[in-house]
Amino acid sequence: MSPPLLQLDNLSVSYRTRRGAVPAVVGVSLDLAKGESVGLVGESGCGKSTIAFAIMRWLAGRGEIVGGRVLFDGRDMAEMSRAELRQVRGKRVAMVFQEAMSALNPCLTIGSQLTEVLRFHEDIVGPAATKRSLDMLSEVRIPDPERVFRAYPHEISGGQQQRVVIAMALLANPALLLLDEPTTGLDVTVEASVVKLIADISRRFGTSLLYISHNLALISRVCERIAVMYAGEIVEAGPVRQILDHPVHPYTRGLISCLPEAGADKIARPLMPIPGQIPAPWERAPGCFFQPRCTYAVAGLCDSAHPPLVDLGTGSSVRCIRAGEIEGEPIIAVPGQQLAAADGVAVAVERLSKDYTLTPPGLRGLLPFAEPLRIKANDGLTFEAETGRTLAIVGESGCGKSTFARILTGLERATGGSVEVGGTNLARLSVIDRSREQLRSLQMVFQNPDETLNPSYRVGKQIARVAKRLLTLGRKDRATRVRELFAEIRLPAGIADRKPRHLSGGQKQRIAIARAFVGRPDIVIADEPVSALDVSVRAAVTQLLMEIQRTHGTTLILISHDLALVRYVADTVVVMYLGQVMEAGTTTQVFSAPHHPYTEALLAAQPRLDGNQEPVAPVEGETPSPLEPPVGCPFHTRCPRKVGTICETTRPPEQVTAEGHRMACHIPMAELARVQEKVLA
């Protein structure tokens, strides 16, 4: 057997900080053969990106390899001179970062950045370099390579930027490609096509991959082997199927069981969050690092000695003393509660529209009377949210779902149509004109945990302020209400005295939920409430939100792009695309055939853990600019089921079944059901 291409031998990396040396990676050993692809999974702060930077020997001044070696092609990277390193970086080992926009130089054209790689590493210049670059752009399936070659980074979309970065990394034909969360921040359909591209390319070029991600499902589509990291060390490693189908380490099991399973609903199988959060390097527990959060931990055993990584003989190895005993134990699931039946409509949206006007870009905008540009963010939305139940609004970025949230909450005013809540039309009632009762009854949970709380004040004080404004409580009652809420979101009351920067993302989001529920609102709208959180925390926060909703009988409007989550949480679903409703119905209706072709594409793009490992790209291309929305059906530019010119000219009619399942498509629903069942069968 030939020596591995990359060998991490007991690698340890520490960062120098005000607190002293902080160990980020502890004794990691990992081999990567030529042409092999290995996934590195773990939550944020587990040291996975540090490994990538350590391989490149690029630790930004503060980091230091304090033990072990990185062998590339049998040579110790630490012994290479600067000149040698420069040759290895980019030429033999290339890296793709998380944010494509910051990896590209905004001042240079894509073309000049691509040809620079060839000039530096391969000494190819002139027309030859241009040709190689254009070929590579077509390899990464960029539709119009000549245009992109001349474009600046800001002139192409996020998905295309990431493709360009991948093209740039592949230009020098490297032996190893490091990918650090390459699709985070992209829309699901775009993510699916980028992942497929990565898998294809590693196969065709024989490039080895080290794929770093927090998304287990995504990694399983690309990699042959997986290493699960926790608190700076590998806790379980082995072949993909072995790990996914027979996980042994309690952390790996936790990561898998906290994902909403495709097809499961919230009553049959509740999410199983991993309690607690990943410890900071200076707070790691004695013995096994995972032991404080582990449901299988045994006092006196797990907290005494640090477990070694043991080979199980199945091709995988695991770092758990109790591996042999717990292996067969099933993952315990507590059944959820039945939902109350809906009584009436809480929010009735009818033909709601919102147009934004923009000043045209460039010099034209300076002219007086220049024709303003119009964006239809919401274009005739019609749907209802039932009292005490959950309505999910699904769609990719730019579909207008957040605009709807802003109209409902009064932060924006609609340009047409109505939103009726409790007999009042709120569509054009701005937040400053709403009565205290109207404000109290409708609250919101925001997306970004870092922006949702005011960084200047203690969180308890922020919640008390809401109680003062919305419930007009006195000082004493406010304190009681804050204590009640902290009990409800299951945070120790001591947290109330902390400022947001001393809280983790999950804790901040819990506080945000508490803030929304202070006034016992009738309706809560949650805009991607968990998408910025780590997977294990996501489950816990979702569970909490559902539980509070259930106890108070609140109507929940959940905005999300995560179909697995929506299927799990929602009772009714609305699918939006470019400001229009494509499909609406109960969760069962929307998630079983017939689907609208767009819903079908979203479903196919969803990464899943089960057998089907072949990466799929359900639709090519990206959402068109809302500045120039397609005429006819908005989805026709990407629709794989387009029937003909009628899709390009006529807006599709709305079809409604007797059960209330609605969709806007030129293909009859019966026909859709027939073709889609064939595919799924």
Binding site: R19, V22, L442, M444, T452, R469
Partner: protein, 285 residues
């Protein structure tokens, strides 16, 4: 690593230790503050005491006491005048900066938060003032209303607040889109509350750095006004005024000009060092 739970809060002193520039700036400022506060105890003579005209540094008075930095054309001790002059500048520079900030911050908050025509109006007015040569502006104001402490404050406020307004407006444009501002609107807070309680405290980072820099500029401005004879009325010890009075004698008796110049420069330097240090610290985290 986003989790900072259990992290020690860095103390004031450990922060100082991390930025030598900040320490240097703070030391110089502390020196001048102490000098100004204890002026009557430190100064060897009164600021307006007539001793020996044009005495050179190190000369003695008839009473046998040394005038370390010499005396000016009216026989006043330069060292003592610098010491008392510190009081003038360290009173008026912070006061003027404070006034400019009060006006600039308020207008900036309103312009950034309200946007639309309010922003348009305020920003264009700010452009107008900023486009006007500052020195001419000072001369016009003070010639018209006369040289006095209050008029200096008014002049500095008028000239500096548009810049502050611009800075605050920019920060607010970013901060007003934060979810906590939306949350405040959704519980029916007044605009005033949102501006001063929700937004302003989070803009403090860039504002503190800018305030230190601006203190430096205002120090120079007060010096300039003094030099142009637009500062405080004559017998008051004032660094700019001292440099002005030395004009005719500077070639022969440079000590009259050099020492007040060093005083002004060192104080401006102190403010700039502090601003740099604070910026360095804010970037480090």
């Amino acid at each position: 690593m986003t989790d900072t739970t259990g992290m020690r809060n860095p103390t004031f002193w450990s922060l100082l230790a991390e930025s030598p520039i900040l320490v240097a700036g703070a030391s110089i400022l502390a020196f001048w503050l102490l000098v100004a506060i204890f002026a009557p105890f430190i100064a060897p003579f009164g600021p307006n005491e007539n001793l020996v005209p044009m005495a050179l540094p190190g000369d003695r008075t008839p009473g046998g006491r040394t005038m370390w930095l010499g005396a000016d054309h009216l026989g006043r001790d330069v060292l003592s005048r610098i010491i008392y002059g510190g009081r003038t500048v360290l009173t008026y520079a912070p006061l003027a900066t404070l006034c400019a900030y009060t006006v600039g911050v308020t207008l900036g908050l309103v312009a950034g938060y309200k946007g639309k025509w309010v922003d348009e109006l305020l920003s264009r007015f700010a452009d107008l003032v900023l486009a006007f040569p500052v020195i001419v502006l000072y001369i016009v104001i003070i010639q018209k209303f006369g040289a006095s402490g209050v008029n200096i404050l008014i002049a500095v406020t008028l000239a500096s607040s548009p810049g502050i307004m611009r800075l605050v407006r920019g920060v607010v444009l970013d901060l007003r889109t934060r979810a906590y501002v939306s949350a405040a609107q959704m519980r029916g807070e007044s605009t005033l509350y949102i501006l001063f309680v929700e937004i302003l405290p989070n803009a403090r980072g860039p504002l503190i750095v800018d305030a230190c820099l601006r203190l430096g500029y205002v120090t120079i401005t007060i010096g300039t006004l003094g030099f142009l004879g637009l500062g405080l009325p004559p017998p008051t010890p004032d660094w700019g005024g001292m440099i002005n009075e030395s004009r005719h004698f500077a070639l022969v008796f440079p000590h009259m000009a050099i020492f007040p110049c060093i005083a002004v420069s060192s104080l401006v330097l102190a403010f700039n060092l502090i601003a740099d240090g604070l910026r360095e610290l804010s970037l480090a985290d």
